[in-house]
């Protein structure tokens, strides 16, 4: 990963990658010895967080109507929510996958095509950055009016949101490509298709992957937002229902499980991403 250069354009994407790649490189550079100390300190930090959270309930700073303590989550009194949660989770995951595949296909294809044309890139870049940075939730009612109170709305909304991150990453990947490599390909007499297959596509794999990772997280967020706003569908609907019926322990359990799943997914993808980053260099 070129550490400084990519940071102005599409700053979000490139900086997060630099951050993670540097963590891994410093980890390998440092001796194995202090690693244990770091993990121990991390354990202490997590424990402190859980204790502080528990204290808010134990000292009754916040009423149990609004906050569930870790001890209550451990007691398993929320297990009754599991059947409806797994059902909702299944349908939400399906929607997430469908929306994500659609955005990914559109975003990557458009990115490669537009990245090829310098002029198109320069014309469209501000619009894409703009689309990325404005609160798209504000136009959600428009989706609702157009597609109705169902899955179609969720999917349509979740396709638009993450689209910009992917496009931004793929575009800047193609655009920042080493022009000498392309010259080399030309001088080898490659056809455009061959050039793309052998040079451009492999080159943009890490950036694209980074964009896709962020887009996946974004898709999860957009799907949950749409479900929360529609209030009857999937995990978002379940969260909404648990919140307003003050099933606080169940709500916290659902949120905690979702949080753990997403932490696992994101950290795994980040690990792959940093591998890909070093592979290109």
């Amino acid at each position: 990963m070129s550490s400084g250069g990519g940071r102005e354009r599409g700053g979000v994407t490139t900086t997060t990658t630099t951050m993670t790649t540097t963590t891994t490189t410093t980890n390998t550079k440092e001796k194995k010895k202090p690693k244990f100390k770091i993990v121990a300190l991390q354990g202490v930090a997590i424990l402190a967080f859980l204790l502080a959270w528990q204290a808010l309930r134990s000292l009754n700073v916040v009423s149990k109507l609004f906050l569930a303590a870790p001890s209550e989550l451990l007691s398993g009194s929320w297990l009754g929510v599991l059947p409806s949660f797994t059902g909702a989770l299944w349908s939400t995951i399906l929607i997430i996958l469908v929306s994500f595949l659609a955005t990914a296909a559109i975003g990557v294809t458009l990115g490669i095509l537009l990245g090829h044309i310098d002029f198109a890139f320069q014309v469209l870049e501000p619009f894409i950055v703009w689309g990325y940075s404005v609160p798209k939730i504000i136009i959600f009612p428009l989706f609702l009016i157009t597609f109705g109170l169902g899955v179609n709305t969720v999917i349509a909304y979740a396709v638009i949101g993450p689209f910009f991150v992917i496009l931004l990453n793929v575009l800047s990947g193609v655009h920042d490509m080493d022009k000498q490599l392309l010259l080399l390909a030309d001088s080898l007499g490659m056809s455009t298709l061959e050039k793309y297959w052998k040079f451009v596509l492999p080159y943009i794999v890490p950036v694209t992957f980074s964009g896709l990772r962020q887009a996946l997280i974004q898709t999860v967020i957009e799907v949950l937002i749409a479900e929360l706003l529609i209030t009857t569908l999937g995990v978002g609907g379940l969260i909404n229902q648990l919140t307003f019926s003050f099933e606080t322990v169940q709500l916290f359990a659902v949120v905690t499980i979702l949080a753990l799943i997403m932490i696992f997914v994101n950290l795994s993808l980040l690990k792959i991403e940093s591998r890909l980053g070093s592979w290109r260099a």
Binding site: G4, T26, N27, F66, S133, P135, I137, I217, I225, L258
Partner: protein, 256 residues
Amino acid sequence: LRRVVKIRIVQFLLVAIVFLLWQFLSNEGFLNPIIYSNPAAIASNLVVVFSGKGTVAGFYPNLYATLLALSLGYAIVVVVGVPLGIALGWIRTFGAVMEPLIIAFFSIPSIVLYPIIYLVFGLGVESKILFGALVGFFIVVSNAVAAAKHVKREYILLGDSLGFSRLQTLRKVILPMSAPYVMTGLRFGFSLTFIGVVAGEMIASTSGLGRLVENAVQLLNTTDFFTLIVIVLLIATLGNLLLSYVEKRMSRYKLA
């Protein structure tokens, strides 16, 4: 230079075509004006809304509520996020311990935490402030971390050989060298904080532009709805332009 002009013209034309097409489809009856309104109606309604008249009830108090939540949320992001990021990037052990935890925490899709926030803090402005700050926080921290980490060792060594104290190194080396990159994070942080505030207002809140949008939709007053969208987008765009300008000025201090 000619190329830049050409790019601007094409960009302008693209925007013009979208609005003209929208207006045309609306005039010719292809788009139901009751649902999709049209640019002319929105433009004239914009003037009405800003003059405090029209059918948007309590525009200025709600605009104020949104801007208040935005500025306080963003203030938290700046005041906590930047020092935390610099510290994580600069102090090795602290970074090694806390950075993975912070990355893990912010892997959680922020939206699932919003119900918890408004259960604890209520449907008032506090929840929006906190949620906005939560959404905008990570990008600012991660940019500050990356910035502080990438300060060249040579400059820190130079400071050491000049007998700088830790504080002097921070003030004279780390901060100035990270500033441009931190600023990039702050620009994205602003956008995300605003996204968080508006999302909070749309999902559950008693005031703000997001609330007004929901009200307009429920009354099927789509011209008001689009007018409010334009105002929200204007705030996002103006904030972004202002911060881009600051960022550009600062990037002059970037060293290769």
